[in-house]
Amino acid sequence: MPDSTVVGLHHEEEHHPELLHHFAEPEQQRDAASFGMWIFLGTEVMFFGGLFLAYLIYRRLYFGDFGAASSSIKAGLGAANTAVLICSSLTVVLAIWGAQTARRSLMIGSLILTMLFGLTFLGIKGIEYKEKFDEHHVPGASFSFDHVPIPGHPDQYANPRHAEIFFALYFIMTGLHALHMIVGLGIFTWLLIMAWKGRFTPEYHTPLEIGGLYWHFVDIIWIYLFPLLYLIDRHR
């Protein structure tokens, strides 16, 4: 995080209220925090990695059924949500830049916008889930996916059992992602309060940077989920 480092460099001599006792200097504390966050994101990659593996294996085995199931979701909703998340990532970096350059209203405004985008994402997700629920595409006792043709093979129906595996993965993957969004919203509420109280200065805004890393990461996961879940075999 060079931009902030450059700003922070000249202030080391002053006593820093945010410095915890066991660190020698603020620099060390900030580096430790961001390093820790990156490692945590590494664990998140492996966490979702298990799901991606499951997805890949069954997509390979049951490609046609996955295509049929995927095509039953509105791709437009997924695309819109991708755009929403991308905008929220932009407002995150703007908030940090606002803190770095002491633009308080930019910082606070961007934080609020980020959260609004986050809520919009969850709202659209809710609409999507509602539709799936109404169509009985939620795995479980009332699941039904009968007589849905496989894309490109109008004479063949998708195997409901295999489509159910797709939907199980779809709900678990997007559900865990949404859970991460909710946690992110919690973090950003806290960041907003801190920002409002004036706790972030050009020298000290580590929590913003750490929270931002998390938010961008959740965005990256979605960047993969979108084509994998919404766009299987759409062209037929």
């Binding site: 990156w38 492996m46 993969y224 084509p227 766009l231």
Partner: protein
């Protein structure tokens, strides 16, 4: 620490934002064109480019004065690759 005292990063941020939106649009449109087996390739390539620029520019991995952070990313991707590749080695060769 790469000292880049250029004016402000805003230009970068907004270009990245545009690029990400364009990438999303292209992904969406490409999915409806028949590219044979390359549909998935195109979608995943674009997704990877998008993920990369988010990491490099929004998460500031590009300027990270720490080579360490890059190491974390590379190591994680490596082990994710191991998980997927060795498992697939089983599935792909089952008789």
């Amino acid at each position: 620490m790469s000292d880049h005292s250029k004016s402000s990063p805003l230009k970068t941020y907004f270009s990245v934002w545009i690029a990400l939106l364009v990438g999303t649009f292209v992904t969406y449109e490409a999915a409806f064109i028949d590219l044979g087996r390359f549909n998935a390739v195109v979608a995943l390539t674009i997704a990877t480019i998008k993920a990369l620029i988010v990491a490099l520019f929004f998460m500031h991995l590009r300027h990270a004065h720490e080579r360490l952070l890059k190491l974390v990313v590379i190591a994680t991707i490596f082990f994710l690759f191991i998980l997927i590749a060795l498992s697939m080695a089983d599935y792909a060769t089952r008789t």
